[in-house]
């Protein structure tokens, strides 16, 4: 933990009506790592990301990014600060071409459209979208491509920290491997710190440097993937308590 802290979440809470989705969660993400965020359904993972990226305003607690308090700021401000994300349910720009969608992301750091387009093209190639697909409309591409374009669009904003929200949901096993490679490349070659929310363990255990486990809105435990996977608390969270 002596590494530079990129994001620090302190006692974050969020309630929806009577349901407490996040309950005093504190955690850190350090520069350069891939942090896996796991937990059974309803654990509060997506809510955590939504609170950090400004989609929701938290009911309590603080979000510090590079030491700056960004709690409750608007999403576009947070994006400008350097936090990007992808979406659990893909949010593609159906009536824009692939390259246009990514360029929209790249324009956050430049006004020059040509430059942004070039950057977008590079990023698209980096994540493995062939040039032949650049001019295809969003509504005409496959799910795996949507995931990659979503990812490219987020990367194009040149984030310091990128949250991937269930990026491999709904993909076939070999497609999961493709994404895993891309995500590792993004981390290593682009130096982007990653927070990976994931249910597909084969994927998250494989790529993560460190894992935090949320359960029912609380931080259950954290550690190396192998440790976490054998932690009885985690096993219990996933497989349920011993029969009563």
């Amino acid at each position: 933990m002596s590494d530079a802290v990129l994001l620090e979440v302190v006692n974050l809470s969020k309630r929806f009506g009577g349901i407490t989705a996040l309950n005093n969660v504190s955690m850190r993400i350090t520069k350069g790592e891939i942090l896996g965020i796991i937990g059974p359904n309803g654990a509060g993972k997506t809510t955590l990301v939504n609170c950090v990226t400004g989609i929701y305003k938290p009911d309590g607690g603080k979000v510090l990014f590079l030491g700056e308090d960004i709690t409750g700021r608007q999403p576009h401000f947070i994006a400008l600060k350097g936090i990007a994300r992808t979406w659990q349910k893909i949010r593609p720009f159906y009536n824009m071409t692939v390259i246009e969608a990514v360029t929209a992301g790249a324009l956050l750091r430049t006004k020059d459209v040509l430059k942004a387009r070039e950057e977008a093209a590079e990023i698209l190639e980096f994540v493995g979208i062939p040039r032949s697909k650049f001019e295809v409309l969003g509504k005409n591409i496959a799910l795996i491509e949507h995931k990659l374009v979503d990812l490219a669009r987020a990367i194009a904003t040149k984030p310091k920290l990128l949250f991937l929200d269930e990026v491999v949901a709904g993909l076939r096993p070999h497609e999961v491997d493709v994404i895993a490679d891309v995500v590792k490349k993004v981390n290593r070659e682009m130096g982007i710190t990653l927070g990976v929310i994931e249910h597909v363990m084969r994927f998250v255990m494989n790529i993560s440097d460190r894992i935090v486990v949320l359960h029912e809105g609380r931080l259950l435990t954290q550690g190396k993937p192998a440790e976490v996977a054998r932690d009885p608390l985690v096993v219990e969270a996933y497989l349920g308590t011993k029969p009563v």
């Binding site: 269930e166 076939r172 096993v235 349920g240």
Partner: protein, 239 residues
């Protein structure tokens, strides 16, 4: 010969043009409790939705009581005796508890047995009787789950499909719920197909179980045998 009530044969299904299920086959016999477990995103919910006809079925057969129901619209599948308690309960929040229950008995045959069914549901869930005129949206988590199940029972289903019924409930209520499932099966002779994250609990009460991962069935067998199977933990946590 076993009496297959519901059977999925090599089913491929999904939403829009996206496929989520790849070649799923499973069977539920009459009187059984079958558990369908697996990590999130494995396709369990999609499987249940496919059974009631809420997804795009690309390939395969869905058989119910020996006849093919691929092309039967959802509302008629309910009539035939399928009932699904959807994930997140799906109660009609602005309606009262009683109205929710009535809706469960919407189709004609169920309507005729309305008062019987209501009595049955109130026997199983006495709490609902107390709250019958309350707006469903104001129920607690446990109560609304009971309502969702009670509502499904109102249609007098031959098979009850339960999608993550224990999600977001306190442990005490969860174990109560599992007792109720057991009771439903034993006393009221309801066949159950149970999708659950409380794997161990589910395996405890079910006869047989399927384990899904990435849209495929990866493991199946007698529940008692699966409980301590190391492969089960690996399906969830890989390592």
């Amino acid at each position: 010969m076993r009496n297959a009530l519901l059977e999925l044969i090599n089913v491929e299904a999904g939403y829009g043009v996206f496929r989520v299920l790849h070649d799923v086959s499973l069977r539920v016999d009459k009187g059984e409790i079958v558990a369908l477990v697996g990590p999130n995103g494995a396709g369990k919910t999609t499987t249940l939705k496919t059974i009631v006809g809420l997804t795009n079925l690309f390939k395969g057969e869905i058989m119910f009581e020996g006849s093919r129901i691929n092309d039967v619209p959802t509302y008629n599948r309910i009539k035939k005796g399928l009932a699904l308690v959807p994930e997140g309960r799906g109660i009609f929040a602005p309606l009262t508890v009683l109205e929710n229950l009535y809706l469960g008995a919407y189709h004609e045959e169920a309507r005729q047995k309305l008062s019987d069914s209501l009595e049955m549901v109130f026997t199983i869930f006495p709490k609902l009787k107390e709250r019958k005129n309350q707006i469903a949206g104001t129920l607690s988590g446990g109560e609304s789950q009971m309502l969702a199940i009670g509502r499904a029972l109102m249609s007098r289903p031959k098979i009850l499909l339960l999608d993550e019924p224990s999600l977001g409930l306190a442990p005490k209520i969860v174990s109560e719920l599992f007792q109720i499932f057991k009771g439903l099966n034993e006393e009221w002779k309801v066949t159950l197909l149970l999708v659950e994250q409380h794997v161990k609990n589910s395996l405890e009460i079910s006869h047989r179980a399927y384990v899904m991962e990435s849209g495929k069935i990866v493991l199946e067998g007698e529940s008692s045998a699966l409980v301590n199977d190391e492969r089960l933990r690996k399906a969830y946590l890989i390592i």
